[in-house]
């Protein structure tokens, strides 16, 4: 029954009230925004290779294999023989096998040699497939399909020509100048390392290395395009294999079989387990982010406390007057707590609209600048976060309310101001 009185009183003090709502709103927007980024980052990370049951490479650590095959970080120390790949791919339990051949680059972006099945089998997020934003997937040799960020950063369009460098440095001196590639398609953003990749066929990788020995072109051994077309371009070695099994129950059996492979030392990893291990290393950053945004909320609430306490001194007469016309100290206490709750609630409302607005505005920008792909939606467990903020806001109101209680008891009917 006091709520309309409270409303009028707040309107009367709208300047400071608005300021504290603004402060709380900003801090709530920041907290929920950080939480949103954190969740989407985590989600994106764990779903970088969804749909793939096993990743196979030469024997090494599972994190290393994950890093170079999926995230294109570091490089493989050993390759897999083509025969080994074929034996695995033909196993009756295997539904599909996508070979990956890494080792070349273009202006700092990795070139990935693979089969055209890659576009069909590679999944990210909740079983999303890669989409083309223009053109088509590569088919013949010397055709390349670009990841979204590659095209965006380097300004390539379908039909452009580019030259692939041997090795991984962005300023590699050995360029495959004699065999330029044509851009035939550009992929839509996926928020995965594919965005930073140039996808070509395995045959193209073999072709550009014809006439090379130990990483350098041999004089007089370069070939022309006509000759290449007649050559057998099946690779002798690849870097890694993505495997999909017909049945999930066969995953562990297959993993054991590959790890005990007789032909050469191989390693098969479960992407989820390896991602989990990797996340433990890089995941502390997200905890730091959360801690910082919690501090921001604390700062916002402290600001509100200041507003409430200074307001109280001005309102001492108002409270004494309400007491004189019959309000009990409990009434006045609840009035002040209610004010804190109202301000917090308004702040939360403002913060959420700010978050939504920022999400819409920042979605593309964040993606293009940081490769951070945000979905348009509220963070999970939003209600728990908001309930926590609301509870904290109410708690903050208790201090000035207690002060008001003391005033009313000390002042009696006439405030001593």
């Amino acid at each position: 029954m006091l709520i309309d009185l409270l409303w009028r009183s707040l309107l009367n003090r709208r300047g400071t009230v608005l300021l504290s709502v603004l402060t709380i709103g900003l801090s709530v927007a920041l907290l929920t925004g950080v939480e949103k980024v954190r969740q989407d980052m985590r989600e994106g990370f764990f779903n970088t290779v969804s749909g793939t049951d096993l990743i196979v490479g030469a024997r090494t650590g599972q994190v290393e294999l994950l890093l170079y095959s999926v995230f294109h970080l570091g490089s493989a120390t050993n390759n897999i023989r083509w025969q080994s790949y074929q034996r695995i791919a033909r196993d009756s339990a295997v539904e599909w096998a996508v070979p990956l051949s890494l080792g070349d680059s273009h202006k700092g972006f990795r070139v990935v040699g693979t089969s055209s099945e890659f576009f069909e089998r590679y999944r990210f997020g909740h079983q999303h497939q890669l989409q083309l934003s223009s053109g088509r997937t590569f088919q013949g040799i010397h055709e390349v399909t670009l990841g979204a960020e590659v095209a965006n950063r380097l300004g390539y369009q379908v039909g452009d020509q580019l030259v692939i460098a041997h090795g991984l440095g962005s300023t590699s001196f050995s360029q495959h100048k004699d065999q330029p590639f044509t851009v035939v398609g550009i992929l839509a953003p996926s928020g995965t390392p594919v965005d930073q990749s140039l996808l070509v066929s395995l045959e193209s990788i073999t072709a550009i290395h014809v006439g090379w020995r130990a990483g350098v072109p041999m004089p007089g051994l370069s070939v022309d395009a006509n000759k290449l077309a007649e050559m057998e371009l099946t690779p002798k070695e690849i870097t890694a294999v993505l495997l999909g099994m017909k049945s999930k129950t066969q995953v562990f059996q297959m993993q054991r079989a590959i790890n005990g492979f007789s032909g050469e030392p191989l390693l098969a990893i479960l992407p989820g387990v390896a991602l989990q291990e990797l996340w433990q290393v890089i995941g502390t950053a997200e905890k730091a982010m959360l801690a910082i945004s919690a501090c921001v909320v604390l700062a916002g609430l402290t600001g509100m406390l200041g507003v409430l306490l200074t307001g109280l001194q001005q309102r001492r007469r108002e409270l004494a007057l309400l007491r004189a016309i019959g309000a009990s100290p409990l009434h006045l206490l609840s009035l002040v707590v209610m004010e804190a709750m109202l301000l917090t609630a308004a702040g939360i409302g403002f913060g959420l609209s700010l978050l939504w607005f920022a999400l819409i505005l920042a979605q593309t920008g964040l993606y293009e600048t940081f490769g951070l792909y945000l979905t348009l939606g509220w963070p999970k467990e939003l209600w728990q976060i908001l309930a926590l903020v609301f509870a904290a806001g109410t708690l903050v109101g208790i201090l000035p309310a207690w002060q008001a209680w003391r005033y009313t008891l000390a002042d009696g009917l006439t405030p001593r101001t």
Binding site: L321, I325, G326, L413
Partner: protein
Amino acid sequence: MTTSHTVEIDRLAFGWPNMPRALLDIPRLQIETGGSLFLRGPSGSGKSTLLNLLSGVQGGYSGSISICGERLETLSAHRRDQLRADHIGLIFQQFNLLPWLSPIENVALACRFSKRRREKAKVSGGTVAKEAERLLRELGLGEVVESRRRTSSLSIGQQQRVAAARALIGNPELIIADEPTSALDSEHRDRFIDLLMAETRASGASLLFVSHDASLASHFDRTLELGATTGNSEEALTC
């Protein structure tokens, strides 16, 4: 106890814990229904304390205080708040009004904590707001009502009359006015007291008027002097 007395005080004594002598010592005081009492005393004589005791915002006294037949010392703090809301209308020296409410809303405020006064106001005026308007007009504030003046734009004399209307709305049995005229000049002061007396009489309420100004005593039925040295009023006071 009979209910024909709005206020009955019996052997009341009150002192602060660290004071050697009692601040208040009133053997007997009665204000009968419709009666008026002028309470006079210099500052520090315990006027404010007596008002706090009578209105139930302060306890810790010995003896007995009855308001409309209810003995305050037997009531819980909450019941005393309710008793004040239902039966007592208060007017202060200044800062009587909430500047962000209209004059009518300020008057109606008194009905907010009391169902009893709300119902009475509705019987008398139809709605609480109409009754508030009626009282303002009777107190000579028709112009304020008509031109929808803001509370903060009223003169002090007008503000005190709005405060009087708030004390009167819903016909409480006791009106307590604590130095209501000390901010007014003598002409306005006399007019205010006459108006207040008339309205109080019309509503059948008792009036307790507190002031340090002895010249006002002639307006009231009886006078009670509170001396700075206390031990006051040996006589039994019946108004």
